[in-house]
Amino acid sequence: MTHAISIEAVSKRFASLQALDSISFTVEHGEFFALLGPNGAGKTTLISAMAGLSRADSGRIRIMGHDTVTQTRDARMKLGVVPQELVFDPFFTVRETLTFQSGYFGIRHNDAWVDELLYKLGLTDKANVNMRALSGGMKRRVMVAQALVHRPPVIVLDEPTAGVDVELRQSLWAFVKELNAAGHTIVLTTHYLEEAEALCSRIAMMKKGRLIALENKDTLLSRSAAREVSLQLSGPLPASLQPLSLRQQDGRHILALPDIAKLEQVLSELRLAAVEVRELSVHETDLEQVFVKLMHGGQL
């Protein structure tokens, strides 16, 4: 068994819209993987194809080595999906919901694991409450629990924190990190880039059905070479530093800093020219800047 998820040249069209355009990538065992992209990029469509909720027009997807079309049973047993839309069955309580979900996966006596999930997700005191009576955040937690009843090695969360309060977001991430540490492969899509930045080791970016970037987070961040140093000086910028100058802003000089070691050189040039530094700050590129750049078609 080679990859946790392998996606090979997957395409899907809705009428005239190319929702997925020959997407290929793999996610390795134990990875924490982010799938980013603006609304309509095709993230949910790709996840639906992984889960067998929809069928790709062409290409092939394997979950833990099992083809999602020809080995549906094995592929589905290995995959837990938290759908993007907040959905629930208003007829049942939280515990009924989870017990039924276990049964759909063929698991009979799952009480111990269901209790643990309830506990970890802060739902213990809601176990016998009807789904209708839960807040949105609580319903979202039940959806996470539903995706985990069969202890899948691969877990996909489609914007699990959209419209969810801060407290839940943090406790959810703590839990997902714990699952990842226990060996589960995690794929998540999110609009909060700082979440992807803080949690994920590898990042794929999609736009209009195409994969436009796929890198280690650190490579992606450094490749954009957008680290900058902002300097407030007592005199003019020495000529030797002009090539690094990006712009002037509020009386400060903004210089490009491709490599942090370059800072040493900048400072010694200033000392030589007898220019005093009144204020200095270094700005790291964050994922948001990279993202915006990529989405506007700029090459890195």
Binding site: R55, R76, G103, Y104, G106
Partner: protein, 251 residues
């Protein structure tokens, strides 16, 4: 297999939790029909020799209620799940097409039989005899609910909106169940309408079910069994294939 059992249990629990609507209401409706029609017509009609109109009416009403409720059970459950989106929780696990079909079907049959038993119970005092042919009775009850439960699964999968389902129910299921000899023996009809009735599969369910009580009917119970059984097998195979293909469920 356990997926099937779980889905079946969930479907039973779903209608049982709202039993006031799903069981009591149709039983009350049937009782009202029985009161009104037997009051209006009891003096005028003797359906079969030796069978009063009031007694004749009961099995027809029971079968009609069973059919309508078996249809309502699977169709409303599926369309609710589709519209609210929680059907996704059934599509993510590896539930096979026969298990999916079987669970909805069996739950519909159970709902139909519970309603049917309720209708018979509250109307029996109008002079219902003990069944002359209990096995025939059971066979038509189960198969009749099976046919309508299967149609309900099909309608629930096909319809995208409640009004499409309502149209299916009002323009197909209601006319078929009402024009099936519930309220009259088709032998009392003019020849043209008698032939038309013979094209309606619900007519055979009701006629066969009646045979179970009275040991006499408009047509032979074997013919009714062949028609109802044939419909059931053909529809089931078709709907199971629809489900396996992912029609309207997996886009």
């Amino acid at each position: 297999m356990y997926g099937f059992i779980t889905l079946f249990k969930k479907e039973i629990l779903r209608f049982w939790k709202v039993g006031f609507q799903t069981v009591m209401a149709p039983v009350l409706t049937a009782l009202l029909y029985q009161l009104i029609f037997s009051h209006v017509l009891s003096q005028h009609v003797e359906a079969y020799p030796g069978v009063s109109y009031t007694a004749f009416l009961i099995p027809g009403l029971a079968m009609m209620s069973m059919a309508q409720n078996a249809f309502a059970n699977s169709s409303s459950s599926l369309i609710q799940s589709k519209i609210t989106g929680n059907i996704v929780f059934l599509l993510l696990p590896p539930i096979s097409a026969p298990a999916f079909f079987g669970a909805y079907l069996l739950a519909s049959v159970v709902r139909g039989l519970v309603v049917g038993a309720g209708v018979l119970l509250v109307t029996a005092w109008f002079g219902l005899p003990l069944p002359a042919q209990p096995l025939w009775l059971l066979a038509f009850a189960v198969l009749g609910c099976g046919v309508l439960g299967t149609l309900g699964i099909m309608a629930g999968i096909w319809a995208d909106k409640f009004d499409q389902l309502a149209a299916f129910q009002n323009f197909l299921i209601m006319p078929l169940t009402f024009l099936s000899g519930v309220f009259y023996s088709i032998n009392s009809l003019p020849p043209l309408w008698r032939s038309v009735s013979h094209l309606n599969p619900v007519f055979y369910m009701i006629d066969g079910f009646r045979y179970g009580f009275f040991g006499q009917a408009d047509v032979s119970p074997w013919l009714s069994l062949a028609v109802v059984g044939g419909c059931f097998v053909a529809l089931s195979l078709w709907v199971m294939r629809l489900i396996a293909s992912g029609y309207k469920l997996r886009h």
